[in-house]
């Protein structure tokens, strides 16, 4: 079995998981949600094996390296980290409805990678031949994933707020019982960002150390660096907003969504739309 087949299985598992979470919300049946979590867990395990297998395949080709070196590998790893963070939160808090707002990010990533990205294993170009690659990519993407989860939770927050304003008598009213409370959503948003922010900080720091080691400058205002700093600024604003009156709840949720939009631009937009030093697709 090749890693590529396993990644297809992963994609299908995340699709099944998304459908089950949708069915849970549609049927208002919490028990169904457990199946959604199991489907996500199954996909996660398969994906973990597949990533390991891809790593081994690169060694079989004679130029072994961690599967974190191009756009395809980074998108796959991003999906993996999103599901990892989701499973941790799900295990801790058991709010299954969050799955419907988070697993689609992972599904979208896997589908994009499998259907339209070049899955070939390429040897590492000289610039990437460093142990810092692993530290830098892992910390950045775990951070990104935490922000993805926070974004999903913030969308739930805004949706719930909207539903509550419409009153509980609309057909969607019953849906509210499936959602965590507003306070809980606000708190989970904060918690996810509290995990993501230190990881992003570590990602930027490891990137700076690596840049200094490879190019002789720890900071050169390259678009990728600048956008990572923009993301950092947005979440720093979010964290300070938490202790400022009037910035909790709705505004915090909006900041979290804006932060994730900036994250996605930092990750993909910079590589696809702007030019700079960081043209590996990671």
């Amino acid at each position: 079995m090749s890693s590529s087949n396993l990644f297809n299985v992963t994609m299908i598992a995340y699709m099944v998981s998304t459908c089950i979470f949708f069915a849970m919300l549609a049927s208002r049946n919490k028990a169904v949600g457990l199946a959604g979590t199991y489907a996500a867990l199954f996909g996660f395990v398969v994906q973990t094996v597949a990533i390991g297998l891809r790593w081994k395949e690169s060694y079989d080709q004679g130029h072994g390296h961690a599967p974190l070196s191009n756009l395809y590998e980074s998108v796959v790893f991003f999906a993996w980290t999103i599901v990892l963070i989701f499973l941790v939160i799900d295990f801790k808090y058991k709010y299954r409805a969050i799955g419907f707002f988070v697993i689609p990010f992972a599904l979208f990533g896997m589908a994009w990678a499998q259907l339209s990205l070049d899955a070939g294993i390429q040897p590492l170009v000289p610039a990437l031949q460093s142990n810092w690659l692993v530290y830098h990519v892992i910390t950045c993407f775990l951070g990104y994933a935490a922000f993805a989860v926070a974004c999903g939770i913030s969308i739930m927050y805004l949706l719930r707020e909207k539903l509550e304003q419409n009153g509980g008598n609309s057909p969607a009213g019953g849906l509210l019982s499936m959602f965590p409370s507003m306070r809980m959503l606000d708190d989970l948003n904060y918690k996810a960002i509290m995990v993501g922010f230190p990881l992003l900080t570590l990602g930027i720091v490891t990137g700076a150390i690596w840049a200094n080691y490879a190019w002789g400058t720890y900071w050169s205002w390259d678009p990728k660096e600048t956008w990572s700093l923009i993301v950092w600024f947005v979440y720093a604003a979010f964290l300070h907003a938490r202790i400022t009156r009037g910035w909790v709840g709705r505004r915090a949720a909006i900041l979290s969504i804006v932060g994730f939009a900036a994250t996605i631009f930092c990750y993909l937009g910079v590589n696809l739309l702007l030019s700079g030093l960081h043209s590996y697709g990671g």
Binding site: Q122, P198, F233
Partner: protein
Amino acid sequence: MTTNKRGLAQQLWDFFCSLRLTIFLLIGLALTSIIGTVIQQGPQREYLATLSETKIRLYSALGFFDMYHSWWFILLLYLLTLNLICCSIKRLPRVWKIVSEPVLVMDETFQKSLTNVKELKLRGAKPELKDKLTALLRAEFANPVLTERDGEYHLFAQKNPWCRLGVYVVHLSIIIIFIGALIGSFFGYKGYVNIPEGGSITQVAARGGNVVDLGYEVRCEKFSVSFYDTGAPKEFKSLLTVLEKGQPVPGYKDVPVIVNDPLTYKGITFYQSSYGPTDEGAKYRITVRDRKTGAPTKLEARQGERVALPGGAFLSVMEATQDVRPFMKEFDGPGAQVEFTPAGGKPQPFVILSEKYDSFNAQHGDDLIISFDGMDQKYFTGLQVAKDPGVLVVWLGCLLMVIGICMAFFMSHKRIWARISNDGVTVGGSASKNPAGFEMSFDELVQKLNKV
């Protein structure tokens, strides 16, 4: 008047202490930072050609072509620094007091401010209860401090009080990083240098235009590039030797420098950055045959050098390549663009290829057939050169930032008070973070205390 003045100072102070200013500055920095990623920084001529006159004038006036060093961006950074210093000065003393002078005694009023309070069902002699509770707190939580007041015993124990300072550690770390960056910009430089194989340099052109003396000599012994089977580059390698007064420095002879593995000598670091073929020093090998006799003559030429050919003509090689395929699809092997000047004639430019294409080569050259045997290609290595005495300060700042963030986010200052009076035993607790999690561990602790 004085009250007005004090009022103004107070207003200014309040302004710089405000968290709203922090949020405004952070979002402002985030938004303005986008500009420099969209508009080319230090723009190339090709890029400027795509912009209209008005745009160019506007962008230069606003400093958009070097946005991150423009006065207003630097001002925003200074304002943020001032803001975080003021915020820290305002809030630190209060937090410091909580850390350094903990409330040792839980009285009635203080008790009301706590969310976690439980009465224990313990009965017994006060001194004995005090000893038992002390032992249990020490084992299960932290070593308590005992205070006796009005015949009552008060116990106080705490964990991680220092984590309350995490926020200020982060603020300090940002200032340290800025200081490191300033040290680098005042006492360091970034430069770039090309060294041909066999050549050496003692100076570097720094960014900003000045020429910096290294104080020693760096020689490029050899440059090599290797490729994977796919054609992608595998390794760029320069062998560098550091020389002082013309003599190689022990341990710095033939040092391999590759991407991600630089060479540092006396605080100056050399990074493998680029490379290219250099015509300087390249030798071209040419064979000339007489059309009638076929007698070959081997010649060597440097770029642009006029070489005398048998029969009185001259030849100079303008440029050459090891592989003509990219330029001439039907041919392969080496090729050269030459200028042939017959004796007493006008110069004729044409291309010559290797011997196997002599029918091609025979189209020119009058009495001679000139073929190109190849060249001893030399490379130059392109090195980034950097001296940054502030970099260690920046790393210190980064380390502090990570530590500070972990303190602020993942550690909680937990406090437990116990009052042992004639009415019984009351326990109170509070935590700086995660109230739900603390409530559970507090209830657990109370259960254990109830069993002593």
